[in-house]
Each structure stands twice: as structure tokens, then as C-alpha cells.
């Protein structure tokens, strides 16, 4: 679990409500695929030993098989770890004041987006598919009034419960942050007013 104080611009009264990652089942397909690939060098060695035992003792061919298999194993291991990190570094944090969305895509693409709860207009949860229904994971779409049209939480456990809590927290935050809301509305109104003025 994360220490909330590590988040930027943390308020004194901010508390962690949810720390969410995709459901681990979303990793199973990738893991099974990579584990099968990792087992391939062992399977190839066994096949060689059974069918062509003279190759296993060949002083020229066998070292090449060992070097090739080790490289195959190492790169599969690396890609498996990267697939795991892709899962592990996608995080959604819900506090009593905001939602933080961190997404990692590949090695060099990371996005961090933040949304104040009072801007949340709607949170809709959807559970699609047999596995998702059985295991209770799904997607939440959060509609906002800001520039980011919506936030999406992918494959998170208990989406209905989380969506309900987010709406309750948003309502509470709106009543607590009424000053911020008014200030923001005034700013938007001024911007709108300025854009309507004829340019000279």
C-alpha cells in the first residue's frame, strides 16, 4: 500500500480511500503464454536428447544450443517482467479529495492525471463477460466537467462498490470545496466573457 504523503500536493486532511490495480486475472493469459515460451528450451532439449542423442554430446552443436536457449530464455524472462510491470505500474488512487490515475505503457510512456472529486459528474460501472461476472471485476467511467472528458478505470475489482463510493465522496467534496467551485466557475465565466468580446 502507498503512503499518501508521497503524492504531490497532498493536503493535511487527505486520506486514502482506494488503491486500485487491474484484477490479477488480467495477467493470467500473458503469464501462461510466457511460461510456455520459457519452457520451450527445456522441451527442445528433451526432444533432442530422446531423438538425436548424438547431437547432445556433439562438441560443436551442443554449445550453440546452450547459448541460443539461454538467450531465448533471458529475453522471454525480460519481456515477462515488462508485462508484469505494465500491470503493476497502472494504478488508480482515490482519496477523499481527488482521483490520481497513473498509467504505464511500455518502457518510456507514463501518464499521470489527477482529478478533483468535486469535478466528478458521473461514475458508471460496467461488468462485461463471463469471467468478469464470476470474479467481480469491471470498468468504471468517470465523467467530468473539465478538459479531460472522462477517466477510465480498467478491470478493477468490485467496480459498482467503487463507483458508488466515488459518487458519495464527490458529493461530500463538493460541499466542502464550495469556495474552490465558485472560484472556478467565476474564472470560467470570465474566460467565456473575454472570448465573446469583439477583438479590435
Amino acid at each position: 500500500m502507498i503512503d499518501i504523503k508521497h503524492l504531490p500536493n497532498c493536503r493535511n486532511d487527505e486520506t486514502l480511500i482506494y488503491f486500485l490495480r487491474r484484477h490479477p486475472i488480467s495477467l493470467v493469459g500473458v503469464f501462461v503464454g510466457y511460461i510456455l515460451l520459457l519452457l520451450m528450451p527445456i522441451a527442445a532439449f528433451t526432444i533432442l536428447q530422446v531423438n538425436w542423442p548424438e547431437l547432445v554430446t556433439d562438441p560443436v552443436f551442443f554449445p550453440l544450443v546452450v547459448l541460443g536457449s539461454s538467450l531465448f530464455f533471458l529475453f522471454c524472462w525480460l519481456f515477462l517482467f515488462q508485462a508484469f510491470l505494465d500491470y503493476y505500474l497502472d494504478i488508480w488512487i482515490v482519496t477523499n479529495h481527488r482521483i490520481v490515475n497513473m498509467t504505464q505503457t511500455g518502457l518510456f510512456h507514463r501518464e499521470v492525471a489527477e482529478l478533483r472529486l468535486y469535478r466528478v459528474q458521473d461514475a458508471s460501472a460496467s461488468v462485461r463477460g463471463f469471467l468478469a461476472t464470476i470474479l467481480g471485476y469491471g470498468r468504471i467511467e468517470i465523467q467530468t466537467a473539465g478538459e479531460h472528458a472522462h477517466f477510465v478505470f480498467e478491470d478493477i475489482p468490485h467496480p459498482q462498490e467503487v463507483a458508488k463510493t466515488i459518487l458519495q465522496l464527490a458529493e461530500k467534496d463538493r460541499s466542502e470545496s464550495i469556495g474552490d467551485v465558485v472560484e472556478e466557475l467565476e474564472l470560467e465565466s470570465n474566460k467565456h466573457h473575454d472570448s465573446k468580446k469583439p477583438s479590435k
Binding site: I2, V60, Q104
Partner: protein
């Protein structure tokens, strides 16, 4: 005839590329893995397995293989028997 040692050099280069990518991946995990000790454990497991594989294969390659031999790609052509009367 391809000297066998070329394959060893190619393996060393590929392991070097792997190590650079592994270092970048581990650095990324440690920088952005917010959960502290757990991510260190995962990185340790990843690096540990990689070191065991590289160490085992490296020990085998440097201790038990005779790299002075060559690989004959087309044995029937590379042999000089056909020149004999």
C-alpha cells in the same frame, strides 16, 4: 567454416543488450513502483534469475567448451576430399 568463437562473441553482445534493457526496466520499476519493499523483491527475483542463468551458461561456456573448433555449414563442400585424385 565459421569459427565457434564468433558465436561466443555474439552471445556476449546479446547478453550485454539484455543487461542494458534489464537495467532500464529495473530502474523504471524502482522509480515508479510506489509500494516500496514489494517492488524491490520483484526486481530482486528478476535480476536473481537472470544472474543464475548467465552465470551457469557463462561457466559452462568458458570452462567446458573448446572454442578453437569451427562449425562447418556445408560439410560436403568444406571438406577437401573431392580434390583428391
Amino acid at each position: 567454416m565459421i569459427p565457434l568463437v564468433w558465436f561466443l562473441l555474439a552471445w556476449i553482445v546479446c547478453v550485454g543488450v539484455f543487461l542494458i534493457l534489464a537495467l532500464m526496466t529495473t530502474a523504471l520499476a524502482l522509480r515508479f513502483g510506489l509500494s516500496g519493499s514489494r517492488v524491490v523483491l520483484f526486481c530482486g527475483g528478476f535480476i536473481g534469475v537472470a544472474i543464475i542463468v548467465i552465470g551457469t551458461v557463462g561457466t559452462y561456456a568458458f570452462m567446458q567448451v573448446d572454442w578453437s573448433t569451427s562449425l562447418s555449414v556445408m560439410p560436403s563442400i568444406s571438406t577437401t576430399d573431392y580434390l583428391l585424385p
